[in-house]
C-alpha cells in the first residue's frame, strides 16, 4: 500500500461543504443565481439537466472537500517529465 507523505488524512473537515446532504432546491437556487451572474440563460428543461450535472459535480466536490490536505500543498502546475 502506497503511504501518504504529507497531508490528506481521511477526516471530514469542519468546513467541508457536503452538497449531498443538501436538498436539490439549494442547487436549484444556486444554478439560478450563478446562471444570472454568468449571463447564461437556461430554459426550464436545460435548467433541470444542469441541476442534475451540478449535483454529480457537487457530490465529487464534497468528497474532495472532506479530505484534509496540508495547507502548503499548492494547486498542480504543468508536469514536465
Amino acid at each position: 500500500m502506497a503511504r501518504a507523505r504529507k497531508g490528506a488524512r481521511y477526516r471530514r473537515s469542519a468546513n467541508a461543504l457536503d452538497m449531498r446532504e443538501e436538498t436539490p432546491a439549494v442547487v436549484d437556487a444556486f444554478i439560478d443565481a450563478a446562471a444570472a451572474l454568468m449571463a447564461m440563460p437556461l430554459d426550464a428543461q436545460r435548467r433541470a439537466a444542469v441541476v442534475t450535472n451540478m449535483l454529480r459535480i457537487a457530490a465529487f466536490g464534497a468528497q474532495l472537500a472532506a479530505l484534509e490536505l496540508a495547507d502548503d500543498i499548492e494547486p498542480a502546475g504543468d508536469f514536465v517529465p
Binding site: A4, P41, Q63
Partner: protein
C-alpha cells in the same frame, strides 16, 4: 500491411506511396459507410503527398521511417485549409485552419501521409463516439457496438485496417478506452511530452495527444515521430518491476476484463498487488477539473449558441461553467498530492498493470450493463480505470487482449513520467509472446 511493412516496401521501391494511398482510399470507400469512422477524406491532398514521396525516393531521398504510410487524425486536429470541427456543429462556421497541427506535421515529416479526419464525441467529452451530429462510429468487431471514445473514429479506422496509424487525444481515457474496445494498441504520453499545438483543447490541465496502431512496433514508430527525444529500448533490455493494481481496479470487472489482466500478469510472472491511496478521489478530482476547465472554455459559446450543441454535452459544460471555484482549486491541490503518492509507488515498482475498461464494447444506444448482477450506468463508468491515472500525468500504453470468439478488451501498462520507451518495449514483448495481439476485425472487406 503494417506501417513498418509499408514503409519498408516504399523505401525499397518494391511498392509506391501512390499505390498505398489508393489502396487506403479504396478500402475507406468500401468499408467506412458501415463503420462511420471518417468525417472527411482528403484524397487529393493524400495523392499529392504520395506523388511527392515517390518522386523523392526516385531522386534518392529517404522520406523517413514512415515513408508512404497512410494515417488518419481525430477531427480536433487542425488540417490546413480545413475547418476544425472537434466533433461539434457549433465549430462549422469557423475559418479554416491556417496550418496543420504539430502532430500531423511530425508524422508527415517522417514520410506518413494524412488520408482524412475521424469521428469523435463532441468536444471530446465522452467515451462512446455516439456523436449527435455525425452519428455513431461502429466497432469493427461487432457493428452493433460502440467503438469507445472520444477518439472512436481513429481507433475504429485502425482496427478495421483502413489505415495502419491514427492520431487521437486522451484527457480522461479517450485513447485508452477506444483502443481497448477496438482491440488495438494506443499510447497516452506523459503530460507535456508531445506538442498539442493545433489540437483543439478540451481540458488544458490534462490533455495529451498520441497514436493508435495495430502492432506495438507500429505504435513505437508513430510515437518516435511525435517525440523528437525518443530513444527506443530493445525488449531484451527490459528489467522492470511489475505490480497489478488491486482494490478499486478490481471492482465491477467482467470476468473477461479480469482474465485479461491476469493473462498479462502471468506472462510477466508477477503476483504482486498494490492499492493506490485515495484513487477514488483521483477519479473525482479529474472529473471536477474536467468540468470546470471545459465549462469555462465553452462559456461564451454557451451564451450565444447553446442550441448548436449536443444537449448531453451542453448541459455538462454549463454545469462546469457555473461550479464554485473552491471545488476546482481543491481538485488541483489534490492532484499535486496524488502525484506525490504515485511517485512513492514508482520507488518500488516500474510498471503498474490495470484493466483499461470494466467491460468490452457495449451496444450502441445501450445505457446500462449488469455487473455482479446489478445494473450499472455505462457512460460514466467506461473511464473508471483510466480517469484516475490521468491525474498523475504519467504515460500509459493500452494493449489488446482478446479471447477467441469474444470482443477485445484492453490492459493498461502504466509507467513513471518519461518512461514511454519502457512501456513500448514491454508492449512489443507481450505482442511477441502472443499475449497481446490485435484481433482480426470481423467487418467484411
Amino acid at each position: 500491411m503494417t506501417a513498418a511493412e509499408i514503409a519498408q516496401a516504399v523505401r525499397a521501391r518494391t511498392a509506391s506511396a501512390a499505390a498505398g494511398v489508393e489502396y487506403a482510399l479504396d478500402r475507406i470507400a468500401k468499408i467506412d459507410p458501415r463503420l462511420n469512422a471518417f468525417t472527411a477524406v482528403f484524397a487529393e491532398r493524400a495523392r499529392r503527398c504520395a506523388s511527392r514521396t515517390d518522386r523523392a525516393i526516385a531522386a534518392g531521398t529517404d522520406p523517413g521511417p514512415l515513408a508512404g504510410v497512410p494515417f488518419a487524425a481525430k477531427n480536433l486536429f487542425d488540417v490546413a485549409a480545413v475547418v476544425t470541427r472537434a466533433g461539434a456543429k457549433v465549430m462549422r462556421g469557423n475559418p479554416p485552419a491556417a496550418h496543420d497541427a504539430a502532430a500531423i506535421s511530425a508524422l508527415e515529416a517522417q514520410g506518413a501521409i494524412l488520408i482524412g479526419v475521424t469521428n469523435m464525441d463532441e468536444f471530446a467529452y465522452g467515451f462512446v463516439t455516439e456523436n449527435a451530429h455525425d452519428g455513431a462510429t461502429r466497432n469493427p468487431h461487432d457493428l452493433e457496438r460502440i467503438a469507445g471514445g472520444s477518439s472512436g473514429g481513429s481507433a475504429a479506422a485502425v482496427a478495421a485496417e483502413l489505415v495502419p496509424l491514427a492520431l487521437g487525444s486522451d484527457t480522461n481515457g479517450s485513447i485508452r478506452v477506444p483502443a481497448a474496445l477496438c482491440g488495438i494498441f494506443g499510447i497516452r504520453p506523459s503530460l507535456g511530452k508531445i506538442s498539442r499545438r493545433g489540437a483543439y483543447p478540451f481540458v488544458h490541465s490534462l490533455d495529451t495527444v498520441g497514436p493508435f496502431a495495430r502492432t506495438a512496433l507500429d505504435l513505437q514508430l508513430a510515437y518516435a515521430a511525435l517525440d523528437p527525444h525518443f530513444t527506443p529500448l530493445a525488449p531484451s533490455a527490459l528489467a522492470a518491476r511489475y505490480v497489478r493494481l488491486a482494490g478499486y481496479f478490481e471492482r465491477g470487472l467482467t470476468a473477461q476484463a479480469r482474465d485479461a489482466v491476469e493473462r498479462v500478469c502471468a506472462a510477466l510472472q508477477t503476483t504482486a498487488t498494490i492499492e493506490l491511496v485515495q484513487v477514488e478521489r483521483a477519479r473525482e478530482a479529474a472529473f471536477v477539473i474536467t468540468a470546470a476547465e471545459a465549462g469555462e472554455l465553452h462559456a461564451a459559446r454557451l451564451r450565444s449558441s447553446a442550441a448548436e450543441y449536443d444537449p448531453a454535452t451542453r448541459d455538462r459544460l454549463a454545469a462546469g461553467a457555473l461550479m464554485p471555484a473552491a471545488w476546482y482549486i481543491r481538485a488541483q491541490r489534490f492532484r499535486s498530492w496524488f502525484h506525490t503518492q504515485i511517485s512513492v509507488v514508482f520507488e518500488r515498482f516500474d510498471i503498474l498493470i490495470a484493466p483499461a475498461t470494466p467491460y468490452a464494447a457495449t451496444a450502441i444506444g445501450q445505457t446500462t450493463i449488469a455487473i455482479d448482477g446489478r445494473p450499472t450506468e455505462i457512460r460514466p463508468n467506461l473511464g473508471l480505470f483510466t480517469q484516475p491515472i490521468t491525474l498523475a500525468g504519467i504515460p500509459v500504453v493500452t494493449v489488446p487482449v482478446g479471447a477467441s470468439g469474444s470482443l477485445p478488451v484492453g490492459v493498461q501498462l502504466i509507467g513513471r513520467a518519461g518512461s514511454e520507451a519502457v512501456l513500448l518495449a514491454l508492449a512489443r514483448e507481450l505482442e511477441f509472446r502472443g499475449v497481446c495481439v490485435a484481433p482480426v476485425p470481423l467487418v467484411p472487406a
